[in-house]
């Protein structure tokens, strides 16, 4: 049956090619948009995994909005169950740059805590920050690539020059786009007095993070907390909305491709009305006609999927290569994305072929034979 299907497809080369192109375009959109979403998902998951044990403590004026003073860290540290607590100042690296997802940032941290904050990430070259450090920095791999700097080089932050003493390995997390500097220096260059963006509280071993977060909130005045599970939930909701928007746009494009398959198959079935009559007269069964018609649509879906995957891969690879100079990774094609895109393409083709196939099987053989 497969040879008949291929023969039928090759009978109308241009129409088949255009339909495959239509599906391919849709799957291309699924791959590009989906890989962007996958990249953000992976960055979040890696970032979260690297800081999953820490409770965020903010000023009570709002999450990510209210700053707290360094002295609050000492109060948090006194809460039973807290192993350690220290303030962090997060600020954009480039002037005018925002704290956007994927943007470069400066992390001001107590140098003696450098190993704890950056701990999950290996220092590829050089060293961590240590007590007594001043205008020095440990940079992430994306910053190293983007600024083309390494250990011993200097980087300008807020009109001050910092010497790179360490470079972190690539992790696919926000650490890649971070430059760690001593907290007091960060507060000074960003003119923040003794304010910090948040306090990281590390629970003692065996202490439940969610319960401890509540205890900190109740014990320390003027602070709000975000436990690891709350952070995960909030971030996942944000990522979900992003994924829904990007993937919906791509799915819409693919559905338009599917409609083109249906249109092609309806035309093909109409043109082959007499042929179906002949086949039925020869004893073809309903399943033979269904298989023949749906098979054609499914193969167009498969070929369109492969075309979209190949073009999407080339586009994603090209853009990532171009952005690599800027230290940015925007797309990530995962096996999961490839599987979903291909399954979607084949399903789309198959489903689009069902209605034309039912029309073909529903024809009266006598009427089909009389059709001119």
């Amino acid at each position: 049956m497969f040879d008949i299907i291929l023969r039928n497809l090759s009978q109308r080369k241009i129409r088949t090619a255009l339909t495959i192109f239509g599906i391919g375009l849709g799957i291309f959109a699924v791959i590009v948009m989906g890989s962007m979403s996958e990249n953000f998902n992976q960055t979040f998951e890696t970032s979260f995994a690297l800081t999953a044990d820490k409770i965020r403590v903010f000023g009570s004026s709002g999450v990510f909005g209210g700053s707290v003073t360094t002295s609050k860290a000492a109060e948090v540290r006194k809460v039973p169950g807290v192993h350690d607590a220290y303030g962090l100042l997060m600020a954009p690296l480039e002037e005018g740059g925002g704290m956007s997802f994927g943007g470069n940032q400066v992390i001001g941290l107590p140098p003696e805590k450098s190993n704890t904050v950056l701990g999950p990430v290996q220092v590829k070259e050089g060293r961590d920050l240590v007590r007594g450090d001043r205008y020095v920095t440990v940079i992430g791999s994306s910053i190293a690539t983007q600024y083309d700097i390494g250990v011993g080089d200097r980087i300008e932050i807020q009109d001050k020059y910092f010497t790179v003493v360490g470079e972190l390995e690539y992790t696919g997390s926000f650490f890649d786009a971070s430059a760690a500097i001593p907290l007091d220096i960060a507060q000074d260059v960003y003119d923040m007095g003794n304010m910090v963006s948040m306090i990281f509280a590390i629970p003692e071993e065996g202490v439940d993070g969610d319960l401890l977060a509540k205890r900190i909130k109740l014990s320390v005045d003027g602070v709000d907390t975000l436990s690891p599970s709350e952070l995960e939930e909030e971030a996942k909701q944000g990522l979900m909305i992003f994924s829904v928007i990007t993937v919906s746009a791509a799915v819409l494009a693919a559905i338009i491709g599917g409609l083109s398959v249906m249109n092609t198959m309806l035309m093909s079935v109409m043109e082959r009305t007499k042929e179906f009559g002949i086949l039925k007269a020869m004893g073809a069964e309903r399943r033979d006609i269904l298989l023949m018609t749906v098979g054609e649509a499914a193969i167009m879906g498969l070929l369109g999927g492969l075309l979209g995957l190949a073009c999407g891969w080339v586009a994603v690879f090209g853009i990532n290569l171009w952005l690599a100079e800027k230290g940015i990774v925007l797309f990530l094609i995962t096996p999961r994305l490839v599987a979903i895109a291909m399954l979607f393409a084949i399903l789309l083709g198959t489903l689009s072929g069902i209605y034309p196939a039912l029309r073909a099987t529903g024809m009266s053989p006598m009427e089909a034979l009389r059709y001119e």
């Binding site: 023969r7 009978q11 009559g277 086949l279 039925k280 020869m282 053989p365 006598m366 034979l369």
Partner: protein, 229 residues
């Protein structure tokens, strides 16, 4: 099962077919009773609109009669379930059409072989059988030619080979010589006669008295009734 004699391969009983043309009922068949013996070469003749093609379609299970029964090889084909029809059609009927109705994209071999696919015959066996019947039709050298590369006579012989592929009980030929010249007509009728002499039952619908004269028996239909047989 019918109570006909064992060598009766086709029997119709009180076959009626009525269809609507707008709001007007058309009585295409008005109680056709006929019998055809195994190996007989029968022609059905009659003026246009007499119901010849309708009768052929009902015998071929392409249409369901309004009333009456058709027995083929002892089986009441008008009484079987719809999903059984394709199998019975494959086993009992081989069609030969006036306009050949070959699939243009397939070669002669492909056109004959495809008929056996639906009978789930193994590929090797299909090719072997298709070669045999095409060679029997004198087309051994034209196996890989497409219909567009063949004459009308050759195309009709491919059509006959296709009808024979599944070794059916009856071959139904609807105006098989309507589209060919007289020389080819003689050839086609010669083949059908030879098949009949070999035991194959053949029923031909024709307008051509020359063709009818060369069959064993002529059944004349007028206004949906058998006038003479």
């Amino acid at each position: 099962m019918n109570d006909a004699e064992p060598d009766i391969i086709l029997q119709t009983r009180n076959l009626k077919e009525t269809y609507m043309q707008g709001k007007v009922p058309i009585h295409a068949l008005q109680g056709v009773d006929l019998e055809v013996r195994r190996g007989e070469l029968v022609s059905i003749v009659g003026p246009s609109g007499s119901g010849k093609s309708t009768l052929l379609s009902i015998i071929g299970m392409l249409e369901i009669p309004t009333e009456g029964s058709v027995f083929i090889d002892g089986i009441e084909v008008t009484g079987v379930k719809a999903k059984e029809i394709p199998r019975l059609r494959r086993e009992k009927i081989g069609f030969v059409f006036q306009h050949f109705n070959l699939l243009p994209a397939l070669t002669a071999l492909g056109n004959v072989e495809i008929a056996m696919r639906f009978a789930r015959v193994h590929k090797k066996e299909r090719i072997k059988r298709a070669r045999e019947v095409l060679t029997e039709m004198g087309l051994g050298e034209r196996l890989n030619h497409k219909p567009s590369e063949m004459s009308g006579g050759e195309q009709q012989r491919v059509s006959i080979a296709r009808a024979l592929a599944n070794r059916p009980a009856i071959i139904l030929a609807d105006e098989p010589t309507g589209e060919v010249d007289t020389k080819t007509r003689d050839l086609i009728i010669g083949i059908l006669r030879r098949l009949s002499d070999g035991g194959q039952t053949v029923i031909i619908v024709t307008h051509d008295p020359w063709v009818a004269e060369r069959t064993d028996r002529v059944i004349t239909l007028v206004d949906g009734r058998v006038e003479d047989s």
